[in-house]
């Protein structure tokens, strides 16, 4: 189980990092949404740090590679969709390795990421807004 949760933690670190530059290129309600998304990923990170043994918690890297430079609003929305899809994939992968309250946590995390990806697609006017199997990688 530790392997899947460590992978989820790495994805959460990367998501928190990405929302910094994303938020800078957004304004108004979109910026508020980006801050809320970042806060949600911080909550997920904190829960993972608590769930993992202190010795198994890798530290966050100083920087993470973004799929493209966040130069404007359009790029910020694209990167935000990608961040949520990536995080959804690691949480989906964690489901078979969990039981009880931890599975509930992983499912809520997967669902939260999938719903935020849908919101960002709507902001970016990407269709379809939804994917058939959130978190499933081809």
């Amino acid at each position: 189980m530790t392997g899947e949760l460590t992978a989820a933690l790495a994805a959460e670190y990367a998501a928190i990092f990405a929302y910094g530059p994303i938020g800078v290129k957004l304004t108004g309600a979109e910026q508020t949404e980006a801050r809320a998304a970042e806060a949600a990923h911080r909550t997920l990170r904190d829960a993972l740090v608590l769930a993992l043994d202190a010795s198994a918690v890798p530290p966050a890297a100083p920087a993470y590679t973004l799929p493209e430079p966040v130069v404007d609003r359009a790029a910020a929305l694209r990167v935000a969709v990608g961040v949520e899809e990536k995080a959804a994939a690691v949480w989906r992968a964690a489901l078979p390795a969990t039981t009880g309250p931890q599975r509930r946590q992983a499912l809520d995390a997967l669902t939260g990421c999938a719903v935020r990806a849908t919101r960002w697609r709507r902001r970016a006017e990407v269709t379809p807004l939804t994917v058939p199997f959130p978190g499933k990688t081809p």
Binding site: L95, R104, A117, T118, T127, P128, P132, P134
Partner: protein, 168 residues
């Protein structure tokens, strides 16, 4: 010469041996065939009870029903089809994937409730109510699922949540 005869004798013995074995195999096959007829229940007086329905059957039922509801709504309200059609397709894909892994037969499509007279708002409300119930069921099913089913059922639960978001 003697050696050749010995070899030939050996060959013929092998042939005899094969013939005997072939008859034995045929006899075994016939008895297996009889056994399988009996297993079909034709000769059984006390057939086994049918297996319990798969735990995922309600989810598959919902997916089939929702695929129909969204499909009808997309046909009745073409200006919303860009949102509704992919959701109908997602539910159909869920039904197909669930049918693939279930031990018992998949549900057959049932006629969706005829609500064509309703306006778009009422129809979306109907979809939202059905989707919310289906989401709750999928969450419960994911939490109860064995490990090898958790990812698929979890994805279906998350997908249903995104459908509620897309309906907003």
């Amino acid at each position: 010469m003697v050696l050749t005869d010995l070899v030939r004798d050996g060959d013929e013995k092998d042939k005899d041996h094969h013939r005997v074995r072939r008859r034995a195999v045929l006899a075994l096959g016939a008895s297996l065939a009889m056994g399988s007829v009996a297993g079909c229940g034709l000769l059984d007086r006390d057939p086994d009870p049918p297996p319990a329905p798969d735990a995922l059957l309600p989810l598959a039922d919902q997916a089939v029903t929702l695929a129909g509801l969204y499909g009808l709504a997309a046909a009745d309200f073409p200006d919303r089809a860009a949102t509704l059609t992919p959701i109908a397709e997602a539910h159909a894909a869920h039904a197909q994937e669930l049918a693939r892994i279930m031990a018992t037969p998949a549900p057959s499509p049932s006629a969706a409730a005829g609500t064509a007279a309703d306006g778009i708002e009422a129809r979306v409300e109907t979809l939202r109510t059905a989707e919310k119930a289906a989401y709750d069921a999928a969450v419960a099913a994911c939490l109860a699922a064995p490990d090898h089913r958790a990812a698929l059922v979890g994805s279906i639960a998350a997908a249903r949540a995104t459908h509620l978001e897309a309906l907003k």
